[in-house]
Amino acid sequence: MSQPSDDVLRDIHRRMVRIRVFETEAGRMAEAGKIPGALHLYVGEEAVAAGVMVHLSDDDWITSTHRGHGHLIAKGGAFDRMFAELFGRATGYCRGKGGSMHISNMDLGMLGANGIVGAGPPIAVGAAFSTKFRKTDRVAVSFFGDGASNEGSFHEAANMAALYKLPVIFVCENNGYGEYTPQANHQAIVDVADRAAGYGMPGVVVDGMDAMAVYESAEAAIDRARSGEGPTLLECKTYRFFDHVGVRGMGLSYRTDEELEEWQKRDPIHLFEARLAELGVLSRDEAAGIHEGILEEVKAGIEFAESSPLPDPNTLLDDVYA
């Protein structure tokens, strides 16, 4: 495994902070009623997207979930076009017709967030098949949750990926809940990685709150995929700090405040910033400056979105493929 340079470490940090600030402000906008539809926010899970995406180029593919903003941001998504999409404006990534749960951008290799739980893995397998067929070294990374790992689409995708040794990395973001259902109530296992052996691929459990644990594990899995050895299932144990939908959500009592507080003690950004400061890679002041700078970018993105036009009703059927 490579020893990441200071620049790479700062890059991972920046990607995490970009997600945190974007999602926090998006949550604020949603709670103020300014964003239509449901937002599923990624706050708390930033280390997973950043630790994986730092290894990918725009040529590599990803598929995402209903909680997909973090994936696109970590892949290089621009705040202005993302907010415009969330606000349903014509300047958004999908011209305002996709919204939060269907945001995509082919230039960045983002094959789409997806409102259907478990819909992403087969798409990633298709993309990986294309890279193998065309003999390129692109890889496809599919993000999905613990709930999605029960869907037939995941099992079929995992089986095919292993059978054809496709360059896929299945990244399970296990945040302990399928929507409002605790994991223990929707599957008899605790480690989704245990399922990998059943398909004939390695499965690894990763501390999803530790950016470097994700970075190292993702590097190993991506190297394996690029060298033609086939897929890997990485299960990142993580936690969402906000509710399933929005920030405070519906106020349901499916998890406790104490549990949330325990996980917040291992806030991935705080942990990483503490170590970067110890190493002299990024001082506390520099980190604070990055948060502030990104907040300004986010505000500019919101302004761009709010001042953008809604899609022309005459374009309703444009860009519709099926």
Partner: protein, 323 residues
């Protein structure tokens, strides 16, 4: 002294780290661990009706086995966190038990020894680079625990005391290792495994076995040292060295590793390591050393009593008894 009891600690996290990808380590899924727990429980109950006390781990490994068997056992009063601290807390709570069966790897047993240093253990392997626990059938391991708890066999007659590396870290809490402590030039704990020999700086090993996997293999190919010998092996690494050892650093993975110095030193003699770096304990990156921060390593034979299952059962069958 507590009333006779058998303790049971199964680590749901062992055998699942990045070495499934970077090496060829086996996946040790939790269904298999539960199956082993089941066999342990059957073994214990075949020999004894002593109370069984267990860690209620986050994956319900023991509870799943108990549910199926219908056996009574007492959960320790611990709310699991999914971390190694669960095992350490279980060790504290189990102090005084006649014998404890652990299912895990070197790291699991290290975490247990942090809570109860001189515990009587039957360590069963479900980890990756395992030097401390044994690959052994759980049924008869459980039976041996049951025999011991019934009081028919004195533990001293069937167990050996382990060496422990005591790690004193400047300005930080102490730590221990049962098998090895390695200073690396890594900057993060990260995915924990030791991957790049070029970043190894120095190590202390309580045993060096060429038939083992991990750092024990590295030492074992140049200076074998058994768990019984009252010494530890001190290694200093040098990537460009002409002295190279070809050793099994992980399951299915050999590496050529440059060595500068190799020396056996007696127990009680210390070795000082200085940061920056990350200290790996029993094969996993654990503790960060800042620049100039010292860690003093000193080994003593004051660790867990590791029970020889065969000896216990031979005693029980009468073959091991003296006339």
């Amino acid at each position: 002294m507590q009333a006779p009891a058998v303790g049971l600690v199964a680590n749901p996290a062992s055998g699942k780290d990045i070495r499934r990808v970077t090496a060829r380590a086996s996946v040790f899924d939790n269904q298999e661990k539960t199956a082993m727990v089941r066999r342990c429980l059957i073994g214990v109950r075949a020999m004894s009706d002593v109370p069984i006390r267990y860690l209620p781990d986050a994956s319900r490994l023991v509870e799943a086995a108990l549910d199926e068997l219908g056996f009574d056992a007492e959960p320790l009063d611990i709310v699991p966190t999914r971390g190694a601290v669960d095992t350490t807390r279980a060790a504290c709570a189990l102090r005084g038990a006649t014998v404890v069966i652990t299912l895990g790897g070197d790291g699991t047993n290290r975490a247990f020894a942090k809570g109860w240093l001189d515990a009587p253990l039957i360590p069963l392997s479900t980890g990756t680079n395992n030097a401390f626990p044994m690959m052994r059938e759980a049924t008869t391991a459980g039976a041996a625990a049951g025999v011991l708890a019934s009081g028919d066999v004195p533990i001293e007659a069937v167990a050996g005391r382990s060496k422990v590396i005591h790690v004193e870290i400047q300005d930080q809490p102490r730590d221990i290792a049962l098998i090895d402590a390695v200073l690396t030039k890594e900057r993060f704990v990260g995915a924990r495994s030791l991957e790049d020999p070029a970043r190894f700086v120095a190590a202390m090993l309580t045993r060096a076995d060429p038939a083992g996997v991990g750092m024990t293999s590295v030492g074992g190919f140049v200076h074998p040292l058994s768990a019984r010998e009252d010494a530890v092996l001190k290694l200093e690494f040098e990537p460009g060295s002409s002295r190279v050892v070809h050793a099994a650093l992980a399951p299915g993975r050999f590496e050529r590793i440059g060595l500068a110095q190799i020396a056996a030193i007696p127990l009680g003699e210390s070795m000082c390591l200085t940061g920056p770096g990350v200290l790996a304990l029993d094969g996993e990156r654990e503790r960060v050393l800042r620049k100039g921060q010292h860690a003093l390593l000193t080994a003593h034979r004051d660790g867990p009593w590791v029970i020889d299952v065969s000896k216990v059962l031979r005693h029980a069958s009468g073959c091991g008894r003296r006339a």
